[in-house]
């Protein structure tokens, strides 16, 4: 979907938040210029690196999140004029920098809007532009904590657990990208710029499943570990993990059809209410069954439509028929890395487009000539 091919996006980012949003813009066809400090974007230093040897060109985080962008190196402290000139010539300015950095060099919304009335600007920050935490320092972990997603993850009796990856920044990037395209729809009609002030905490606190139950019924969710209930949770199998989903009558009947144990016809398991009442007994019966099955056997059942879902790792996914049929993996020949597998943006799988490699540092510095 080359829907943004008429746009130039300038991204000045320090975290995955704006960087993921920039990646989505690139996949939608926009020209994305990533403004990096002379030592390179933070994701270049995050790793993991090829061969586990630190190298700003081979950091996996950079290769994924910055794929399809071009790179210019600008020291914002001494060369802000160039950055401001670049942004002024863009359609979209995407950033996650603080106002302390942006405002003094003329990259704040008010100044930019006055100079370039048609510019779209999206700023993704931990807490947004307004409110008592507007100047709080943030991190992915802190956004999880104050956004409500941390407390509910992990095992009862152990500390709350972070999800792998920069998940709050990813959620915010998806939201920010959608909001930016929405603003673009307005600009297409009006030629007027728009500003999106996106708070990561806002997005994280919005994406909560049981918030309504808590806010309106006073039932406060807490950590439930792997298995929420016998009819909705993770079970160990012989060589891996499987999720059983049977909380509704039709699903329960489907599960019984595949498990084929007379013990499940016990009247203690006759209704969802009684299954919850006798949760531990039911879980024991089902665990006995799952432990006797291999992931492959269970996956066959899943493909037949039974309500179970089997775990997969990176290796099996990259080799999977499903992703091949969806064209979801681009095996890129990267100039500094060699061959590397990069996933497409989530909407590209139905409409595959080859993802372009992440830039080497400063590969588009020629664009800076004459910008001061």
């Amino acid at each position: 979907m080359d829907v943004l091919s008429d746009l130039r996006v300038v991204e000045i980012s320090r975290t995955s938040a704006a960087a993921f949003a920039g990646r989505l813009c690139a996949d939608a066809g926009a020209e994305v210029l990533l403004v990096e400090p002379p030592e390179g974007h933070a994701l270049r230093h995050e790793g993991p690196f090829r061969g586990d040897v630190a190298d700003p060109e081979t950091s996996a985080a950079h290769l994924h999140v910055n794929a399809g962008k071009r790179s210019v190196t600008i020291d914002l402290e001494s060369e802000a004029v160039a950055a401001t000139a670049l942004v002024s010539g863009a359609d979209v300015f995407l950033t996650d920098l603080s106002r302390d950095i942006l405002d003094p060099v003329g990259l704040g919304w008010e100044a930019l809007h006055e100079r370039v009335p048609s510019l779209l600007m999206t700023r993704i920050t931990p807490f947004g532009d307004t409110g008592p935490y507007a100047n709080y320092a943030g991190s992915n972990l802190v956004s999880l904590a104050l956004g409500g997603q941390l407390k509910i993850t992990g095992d009862p009796g152990r500390p709350p657990l972070t999800n792998f990856g920069a998940q709050t920044e990813y959620q915010a990037a998806l939201s920010a990208f959608a909001g930016t395209v929405a603003n673009l729809l307005l600009r297409d009609a009006s030629s007027e710029g728009e500003y999106l002030d996106l708070s990561i905490q806002d997005v994280v606190a919005t994406n909560l499943e049981q918030r309504g139950t808590s806010f309106n019924l006073g039932i406060v969710a807490n950590r439930a570990g792997l298995t929420v209930s016998a009819t909705y949770g993770v079970y160990p199998c012989r060589d891996g993990w499987v999720y059983l989903t049977a909380f509704a009558p039709a699903l329960w009947d489907r599960l019984k059809a595949v498990v084929q144990l007379d013990r499940l016809d016990d009247e203690r398991f006759a209704t969802q209410a009684s299954r919850l009442e006798n949760n531990d007994e039911l879980q024991a019966v089902l665990t006995e069954w799952t432990l006797n099955k291999s992931s492959d056997e269970l996956r066959e059942f899943a493909l037949q439509g039974y309500p179970l879902t089997v775990a997969k790792d990176e290796e099996s996914l990259l080799a999977s028929e499903q992703w091949k049929s969806r064209g979801y993996v681009s095996d890129i020949d990267h100039p500094a890395v060699g061959e590397v597998s990069v996933l497409g943006s989530p909407w590209l799988a139905g409409d595959p487009v080859a993802v372009k490699p992440a830039p080497t540092l400063g590969d588009a510095n020629a664009l800076l000539e004459g910008l001061g």
Partner: protein
């Protein structure tokens, strides 16, 4: 965008929302937040299961008042959360007359969204090809676990289990643990919904420029895997199995979730650089540790965690947050949902607002995530009761006569009650 001046990007567009559970309903709700009119379509024999499900989650908890069966399907906190702002109709899609209502509605709309199991729309004759035959420029978005493609299209994956085959589940877990971990909710749903929203908005721009519709095939699994795409790039370069990293960060050190005063109360702290570390070490009076560089802090992370927790465990989480934030260190109390409701920042942003629901009463719901700050977008209407807008939609949008609607109603093709009982 600016709701106050009526500048919402999807104003004037209508969405047929044939959705269930969380991902599809959330997608429809966000399209409404961006200005679209959204009509939730459910069948009396197959309503959105979130109206009736009783799980440990107890979405439809005890409201303390006796309820008729008809009222009971309209109080689910999950349903009402993710369908607010929509109109709702109850129409039997398996009946040819009901199918025609669906197609007629789609012909009067711009976007169709659905997240049923692949195959369901084909069986009922309301797939993209059926709609495009009468409305060629329709944007039709399907959101599913694995996508519409074989071999996996028929495998089951709701938003919670879909973490398992995404790669995320096996990477999640406590530090160096053998056992993986689930996120504490159905994480595939919101991530899938946001990915699908992006696709729909791009399709709207394409439609406005070219007049062409599009079919969109979004998989929640793909959206989850994309969020940890670095792990796939890493595997392709290195083929190495990585230990689980728990609450630690690849660069920031120390970083952790530390016990504080109170039962099950915690604070999250990240040290991004040497400056943060000096400030933290100073705050916790650990001056002998102050000179450690990032490498040394990573090597001695366990010891440092002990020193930090000795300090945090004697204090309140919110007090720690304030003290550390005052010296520029990222820190935040680990909020439960009750604390979240009272969080001063979310309140100042207008993240939540009250709306009156005709059966449940006063409900607090999340507002549009793109219009928070000084003038948050208000919530315009609660979630529809089952079949609440049958007559309005059929007469108003489709121009049917009252008599024709009566006839469908008497035939049971449209209804305002469901035909399945919760077990």
């Amino acid at each position: 965008m600016d709701w106050k001046s009526g500048r919402l990007p999807l104003a004037g567009l209508r969405v047929v929302d044939w959705s269930l559970y969380w991902a599809g309903p959330y997608l429809g709700m966000m399209l409404h937040d961006l200005g679209a009119e959204v009509i939730k379509v459910e069948a009396p024999a197959h309503c959105d299961p979130m109206r009736t499900v009783i799980d440990v989650n107890r979405y439809s908890g005890d409201t303390g008042k006796p309820l008729t069966p008809k009222e009971r399907v309209n109080i689910s906190q999950h349903f009402n959360e993710w369908n607010r702002g929509k109109l709702g109709i109850g129409v039997e899609l398996a009946d040819p007359r009901g199918r025609q209502v669906f197609l007629d509605l789609a012909a009067e709309s711009h976007i169709v969204i659905e997240n049923h199991r692949p195959g369901a729309k084909d069986k009922l004759g309301i797939a993209y090809s059926d709609v495009a035959a009468i409305k060629p420029d329709i944007i039709y978005a399907s959101l599913s676990g694995y996508g519409q493609t074989l071999p996996e299209r028929n495998a089951m994956a709701l938003g919670s289990p879909v973490e398992l085959p995404s790669g995320l589940f096996l990477r999640n877990g406590y530090l160096n643990d053998e056992t993986p971990a689930k996120t504490g909710f159905s994480y595939g749903d919101p991530v899938g919904a946001l990915a699908a929203l992006s696709a729909v908005l791009l399709a709207v721009r394409h439609w406005r420029k070219s007049g062409e519709g599009l079919y969109l095939d979004i998989a929640m699994r793909d959206a989850l895997s994309f969020g940890i795409g670095a792990a796939f790039a890493d595997w392709s370069m290195n083929g190495a199995k990585r230990p689980r990293s728990g609450n630690r960060h690849p660069v920031f050190a120390p970083q952790g979730v530390y016990r504080t005063r109170g039962d099950d109360q915690w604070v999250a702290i990240s040290v991004r650089n040497d400056r943060d570390w000096r400030a933290l070490a100073d705050a916790i009076s650990a001056s002998e540790w102050q000179g450690l560089d990032a490498g040394a802090r990573r090597t001695r992370h366990d010891e440092i965690d002990g020193v930090i927790e000795a300090w945090t465990s004697k204090r309140e989480a919110r007090a720690i947050e304030k003290e550390l934030q005052a010296v520029g260190v990222p820190a935040g109390a680990v909020l439960d949902f009750a604390q979240l409701k009272d969080d001063p920042q979310l309140a100042a942003r207008g993240a939540f607002a009250a709306i009156e629901h005709p059966v449940f009463g006063n409900e607090v719901r999340a507002t549009s995530q793109w219009e928070r700050g000084e003038s948050p977008q208000p919530i315009d209407r609660p979630a529809p009761c089952f079949g609440e807008h049958n007559r309005d939609a059929l007469t108003g949008m489709l121009g049917m006569s009252q008599e024709a609607v009566d006839e469908l109603e008497q035939a049971g093709v449209i209804a305002d009650e469901i035909r399945v009982a919760a077990d």
